[in-house]
């Protein structure tokens, strides 16, 4: 049986230099409204056990959760989970109630005032169907962002994650305690 595609993204966070090219590429690709971005980079300090605190650049975007709160709270079912794993907002039936925006523990959504709908990362949906990589991954100069189908063992993400496991790198996802089953992997060697 052929498994469905399941798109995920990996951030190799040691490589991120906070150049913000991903944020700009995404914004240019999808005409994201002026005050908003679909992806962000946070600066955080990891408390060092033996050494001084270390600074990390942590990208974030929609986690395309398997148990997405935004999907279960959407009254119109405009927010839905596609078979390829992407959580997508159907703009034709989104009524703009903003409930999904406050339901997202990752603060990945925002309200598009120009169109009157909730908006977020789509993994560049129409673009990847033509065989391209998402804009953020294409433009990432340090190759922090790796995108692909985790159900395909030969894809770049599957290989990268397998390699990271072999190297005993730290692999985690954001706030798994909330039960959202996110699909963005953070890898720190």
């Amino acid at each position: 049986m052929i498994k469905n595609k399941k798109y995920v993204m990996v951030y190799a966070i040691d490589r991120c230099v906070d150049c913000k090219a991903c944020m700009v590429a995404c914004k240019a690709q999808w005409q994201v409204p002026e005050n908003h971005f679909r992806t962000h980079i946070d600066e955080k300090y990891s408390p060092g056990k033996y050494a001084p605190n270390r600074k990390y650049f942590l990208p974030s975007q929609c986690n395309h959760c398997d148990e997405a709160p935004c999907v279960s709270v959407c009254p119109t079912k405009a927010s839905h989970k596609r078979e390829d794993g992407i959580v997508y907002v159907d703009r034709d039936i989104c009524i703009g109630c903003k409930y999904c925006i406050v339901s997202c523990p990752y603060d990945a959504r925002f309200f598009n005032e120009e169109v009157g709908v909730a908006e977020k990362c789509t993994f560049c949906l129409p673009w990847i169907q033509q065989g391209h990589q998402p804009a953020c991954a294409t433009t990432c100069l340090s190759n922090t962002r790796i995108f692909g189908d985790i159900n395909d063992p030969n894809s770049e993400v599957s290989k990268f994650l397998a390699e990271a496991k072999r190297n005993k790198s730290k692999i985690w996802k954001l706030r798994e305690d909330l039960g959202t089953e996110p699909n963005i992997y953070y890898v720190q060697s």
């Binding site: 990891s46 605190n53 709270v73 009254p75 405009a78 009524i95 703009g96 409930y99």
Partner: protein, 295 residues
Amino acid sequence: MVFQESFEWYIALYLFLGGVGAGAILSAAFADLYDREKYVNYIKSASLIGMPAVAIGCFFLLIDLGQGLTKPWLLIYLFANPTSAITWGTAILTLFIIVSLLYAAYNFNFIKFGGGKITLLSLIVLAIGTAGYTGVLLGVLRAIPFWHQTLIPVLFIISAISTGISATVVVKEILFSKKKENIAPIETGHFYLMVLEFMMVIAMIIIALNGVPEMVFSIKVLLSGKYAVQFWLIFMILGLLLPTLLYGLQEIKKLHMKGSFLIIIELLVLLGGYYLRYLILHAGVFTEKFAHYIG
């Protein structure tokens, strides 16, 4: 910490007016069950404010919706998802508006048959549902820890009944001031509701101060942060403590409030009810996604 900025004063007003309408009808339905003749003017006043308050609240929701006005046919999709609290709320509010409209028509003799106790009992269920929904809407969200408390729906129901009684008394004082009607049992009930609300707010403060860091942050924003003046002056003192004190004095017969003084005090309760929701909405911060990291 990141404040939520999606639910603004439109939504606060929607939650508030939903509570006022539900509380007014709930108190009237109980008064009706107990002794319709004795409280007839109170019941009439409540049915004048009940359904319109909820309907105006829904109007504020409607103008807050991104595509509610430009594509009104999408409104039917609000019933589409049984797992969404908004779908539950849309169903409850629709039924509430219909039944309370019938109830008002019966109270003002536009229709002869009011459905008797079945209408009253369904109004009680729908009113508690409407008031509770305004809290459940926030309570089900894991993403905002300060809202994710069982206390929120209960507090909103208590505040809804309290503001509903206040709104009804205001209408009654304006329209039926000539007709003397003793509503002392309702006033006593209102006093105890206010005391209960005060205790619940104290409980909310204590629990939030001992909660996860996001909850601590939210409550400190109210107690000593950028909303401290609104919280202490408008909500706590003017909206809650002053009216409770005056109702208390009335209970021990040291004071008798009437006329414009009474109206002003009831309006203060309403102001407090609005600010309770406004402040809880604005104190909401998203749960920390990079919990492993500081900075």
